[in-house]
């Protein structure tokens, strides 16, 4: 797929596939397009259309079905809101800035979409929310407003909120970057736990190389909207082949 913002080409003929249950970490310098990829997958951005998506590409596929596009009279056309609503229920996202709803207490942050989107009963949604809040270690904060929580706590609520919708694919965009250093470990511990106990496919942008090494099956190095190099974390971190990967890793590890 391609993605341009005006004249700026951010993703250039990018193509990759992720297997069900795979954990992929996206690394690369600032501006290389990592966030853009996750936002495309969350349908917060649209791929830049091509004349013939069937032949030229530019289509996101999920589980063998078009995702960014839909079929219309035998042709692939950009998806409309109805199609997107049907398809994106299998994808969840956690944001760098948490984006909890400040007008709802913690419990309601986690139940709201369950009730209004997934159609669950209030009791069912609350039971699930309490389980998930326990998983992220926040059972005692269900009645707090987000503004009364630390960044790390807010981010763990955001993770619970995303998981409550039972996504098959979870997108994590630098979820610890906005946190004070001492709060990072709690959030990463929760994510490790989720990686260990579920089979959710995870696409994760992070600068936490230790976490990436432990959790991911594959690391992808991006630069200027292209994949520079990819492979299992051991290989990528101990003997990167490309000069740009070596430079990037040296810079990150020096921090």
């Amino acid at each position: 797929m391609d993605k341009s913002f005006g004249a700026l080409k951010v993703l250039d003929e990018l193509s990759f596939r992720v297997d069900p249950g795979e954990r992929v970490t996206l690394i690369g310098p600032s501006g290389s397009g990592k966030t853009t990829i996750l936002r495309l997958l969350m349908t917060l951005e649209k791929v830049t259309p091509k004349a013939d998506p069937e032949r030229d590409g530019g289509v996101v596929w999920v589980e063998g079905q078009p995702y960014s596009h839909m079929e219309k009279r035998g042709r692939l056309v950009p998806a409309n809101e109805r199609w997107l609503r049907r398809r994106r229920s299998s994808v969840g996202m956690v944001f760098q800035q948490f984006n909890l709803f400040p007008n709802m207490r913690v419990l309601r942050n986690v139940t709201e979409a369950q009730v209004h989107v997934a159609g669950r009963s209030k009791e069912e949604a609350e039971a699930k929310a309490r389980d998930l809040l326990e998983l992220v270690g926040l059972s005692d904060k269900t009645d707090a407003y987000p503004s009364h929580l630390s960044g790390g706590q807010q981010q763990r609520v955001a993770i619970a909120r995303a998981l409550a919708m039972d996504p098959d694919i979870l997108l994590l965009d630098e979820v610890t970057s906005a946190l004070d250093p001492e709060l990072v470990a709690d959030v990463l511990a929760v994510l490790r736990d989720i990686a260990d106990t579920t089979s959710i496919t995870m696409l994760c942008v992070t600068h936490e190389m230790g976490f990436a090494r432990d959790v991911s099956d594959r690391v992808m190095m991006f630069d200027s909207g292209r994949i520079v190099e990819q492979g299992p974390p051991e290989a990528m971190f101990s003997e990167p082949q490309e000069a740009r990967t070596q430079d990037f890793l040296r810079a990150v590890l020096a921090e």
Binding site: M42, T43, L44, E81, R85, R88, S89, V91, G92, M93, F95, Q97, N99, L100, F101, P102, N103, R105, E112, A113, H116, V117, A144, Y145, P146, S147, H148, A158, R161, A162, M165
Partner: protein, 240 residues
Amino acid sequence: MDLHAVIESLPRYGEPLLVTIGVTVASAALALVLAFALGLMTGSRHLAVRTPARVFVEFFRGTSVVVQLFWFAFAMPVVLGIQFDYLIVAGVIALGLNYGAYSSEVVRGAIAAVPQGQLEASTALNLTPFQRMRLVVLPQAWPEMIPSLCAFAIMLLKASALVSVIGILDITWLAGLIGKQPGQDRLLHYGVVLVIYFVLAWLIWTGMRALERRAKRGLGVDAKPVKGRLDPAVAAGGVG
């Protein structure tokens, strides 16, 4: 003694006071409904929704309230054949439309000020556009609107005196009428009217403060009651 004459004639303010309050409350209610409708429409992504609302808003903001009052009271019955049984209805509609158009900008601005991340998070949870607005955006925008809406409500209270131009007797006109009578002091009567407006404006302001505090509490922002101020429940009840 002048003061005595003023006090004697105070009961005559009763009905015009009801007119002032009635016109203010009714046109504020109309303006509020319109402000939300127009504010949502002018903020829409769709040109076909945005344009008519924009034209409506600019028309009512760009023309004089007095002319609008005349139009609804006297021109519309002739031109469109629509006659109101009571002139006061024409006054309420003209003021309501005018202030609705003005305050729609407050609604639109507050909605636009809700951080983009909130919309993105609700999209990621697959809420419909309507649910995004109802569950996420409006509850966050509402507390931000209250102070400006309060300012408009007070302006509307003062503008309610304009209904006298279409022949409706409100407190301002009454003060002028009584003041002209022998043995009455016009300045004292205008003083009475000043005090009445001030008390009404204060009631609006106190009620809005209470509303705002409650709305902010709903965002988890601590809003401690200020010492010496009226109990929020009482104040809100006072304005309705």
